[in-house]
């Protein structure tokens, strides 16, 4: 009961498309998300029975999510190959998936594991220096496009945020998914996605402005 109230409060801002609540699971979902989950479960079952086209449709639906999860952790130039690896791994292990409706969360877990594997076998990346941060903030604020590496630098700042925020922000800002889409694909509550987006943006702004105003503290 407490759980449902808290989640409803977190996720029930005006206009929030929450109109269905599954008791017991403590997980509010939209009708659209529930319908998509049901369709996905059907595709998963069909793929488990050998339907390659069904797995292709699952790829179309989830490729951006997998791409975003990986991009939040590994260098951009490696991501496309890893996306393919993740889907091939999922294909090999599909028979072991007991609950087809959990495909999204299961796939995200495979992607996160693959990213961790990548880091175990690669050299650490260079963090951004203070000079980079200053240039970056000025460039973003002024809308300047002169620096061809600006996008990479912004992405690196996002990747320096805590796991939950960077993954959600990459899915929203890079992959162009909406909050409800992220929640539906990742099998997260809309409330927690909303919180992650909000706090993630706050931290991103703080990181970008910190180089201009060193005395400011980051928002926790």
């Amino acid at each position: 009961m407490i759980c449902s109230v808290v989640l409803a409060h977190m996720a029930s801002a005006p206009g929030d498309p929450i109109d269905l609540f599954i008791p017991g699971l403590c997980q509010p979902v939209s009708k659209q998300a529930a319908q998509e989950a049901s369709e996905d479960a059907g595709l998963v079952t069909a793929a488990q029975d050998g339907d390659r086209a069904a797995f292709g449709r699952l790829h179309d639906r989830y490729a951006r999510m997998v791409h975003g999860v990986l991009l939040a952790k590994v260098p951009f130039q490696e991501v496309n190959d890893l996306v393919q690896d993740v889907f091939l791994t999922a294909l090999r292990r599909l028979r072991t998936l007991r609950a087809p409706e959990s495909f999204g969360a299961w796939l995200a877990a495979i992607a996160r594991n693959r990213a961790s594997d990548y880091h175990r076998h690669s050299l650490p990346e260079d963090p951004l220096g203070d000079d980079d941060m200053t240039t970056l903030q000025l460039a973003v604020a002024n809308g300047a496009d002169e620096d061809p590496n600006l996008a990479s630098k912004v992405l690196e700042v996002i990747k320096s945020l805590p796991d939950a925020y960077r993954e959600t922000l990459v899915l929203r800002l890079v992959e162009g998914m909406t909050g409800p889409e992220i929640a539906a694909r990742m099998q997260m509550t809309p409330g927690s996605v909303r919180v992650n987006l909000h706090r993630g943006m706050q931290q991103l702004r703080a990181k970008l402005s910190r180089s201009m105003h060193p005395s400011r503290q980051e928002t926790p």
Binding site: D49, R52, R98, V140, V154, L173, G176, T178, G179
Partner: protein
């Protein structure tokens, strides 16, 4: 119209939050700028050609109710198995503890009587390990009968009627006492194996520390690596190192226990003396009190050659079996400090005279 009015009434931050959430509110220029900037990293690859999917026996997902039913059934089966194990265990009369010793391991079935004077009996195929955190561990071999006589904080007293036990004792010296039909075994800080056969004859073999063997004033001390035999009505023989020659050990056994002719007895003593090495001073010291007065001088002379005594130990004193001289010489042999034994004897006589094996 109403919706437009409501939207217009929202503060700017809330309206831009909506855009961040589902792109429905007023676009936030900063977020738009980030989206534009980062769009180049967006996923844009078509689906690859996936290999054939070989349909197999996939794991079926059971409904929640069925899962609960299966879990409950599994738990019921486990509970049933546990109950069966307990029933079988009780039918075999194997308690979890015997006279305060925990049964830490059991192979096969064993009989344990309850109440005072508890008895543990193992059959031809069973083994039991007993453990008392304050005393030590006893491994009981098949075909063994072990009785408990007394248990106090400072004494663990039992009787090995027959069979074999392996004792590893960490209680202070003198607190773990095992009677046999032919001698009393006193742990003096050690690990040892004690065997008693159907005739009541026994054998103790020490692997660590030392053990005292005693019956009717006849005593033997068995350090690590040594052994000692006992016979009913005779008591403990002379301790000997197990790496002594076979002739030495056989002659010693005849000398200690067999009712032979005086000539044979003299011959056996001669073999023991002739084949004794320096470390066999252990055996010769024991023989001093077991040899006839006429033979004692021979033993003394040989022992004096192997381990010359220091001042205070005289030939005359040894020949008349002076206790203090014998003890001093024993201590000089370097196997153990006999004062521990003497202290235990005094304490034992004072507190346990009235109690003994039946």
């Amino acid at each position: 119209m109403d919706l437009e009015k409501k939207t217009a009434e929202k503060p700017l931050s809330e309206r831009t939050d909506e855009y961040l959430w589902d792109k429905s509110g007023e676009p936030n220029p900063e977020i738009l700028r980030l989206e534009t900037l980062l769009t180049r990293f967006q996923h844009d690859r078509p689906a690859p050609v996936f290999p054939e999917i070989v349909p197999g026996a996939r794991r079926r997902s059971f409904p929640v109710r069925l899962r609960w039913l299966m879990a409950s059934a599994s738990m019921a089966v486990v509970a049933l198995l546990v109950m069966m194990a307990v029933v079988i265990y009780r039918n075999n009369q194997i308690p979890f503890a015997v006279a305060g010793w925990n049964v830490s391991r059991q192979v096969g079935s064993a009989h344990i009587s309850s109440g005072l004077g508890q008895v543990l009996e193992t059959d031809k195929r069973s083994r039991v390990t007993l453990r008392d955190e304050d005393v030590g561990q006893i491994d009981v071999d098949p075909g063994t009968r072990l009785r408990w006589l007394n248990k106090r904080d400072d004494l663990e007293w039992m009787v090995l009627d027959r069979g074999t036990i392996h004792a590893l004792i960490w209680a202070p010296p003198g607190q773990f006492v095992v009677d046999t039909p032919s001698a009393m075994t006193v742990d003096l800080g050690c690990a040892y194996t004690l065997q008693v056969d159907s005739s009541g004859a026994g054998l103790v073999r020490t692997s660590l520390g030392w053990v005292g063997f005693k019956l009717n004033g006849r005593e033997s001390f068995i350090p690590a690596g040594a052994a000692c035999r006992t016979r009913p009505k005779v008591g403990p023989g002379s301790a000997y190192f197990e790496d002594a020659s076979a002739n030495f050990i056989a002659a010693l056994a005849r000398f200690d226990f067999d009712d032979t002719t005086p000539e044979q007895r003299a011959t056996d003593l001669a073999v023991v003396l002739n084949e004794s090495r320096n470390r066999d001073a252990l055996t010769l010291w024991h023989l001093l009190s077991r040899a006839d007065p006429s033979q004692r001088l021979l033993v003394y002379e040989r022992l004096r050659l192997l381990a010359p005594p220091k001042a205070g130990v005289t030939q005359q004193g040894i020949l008349r079996l002076d206790r203090s001289m014998l003890d001093q010489w024993w201590n000089e042999l370097g196997f153990a400090d006999i004062s521990i034994w003497r202290h235990w004897e005094r304490s034992w006589s004072a507190t346990n005279r009235a109690v003994g094996p039946k």
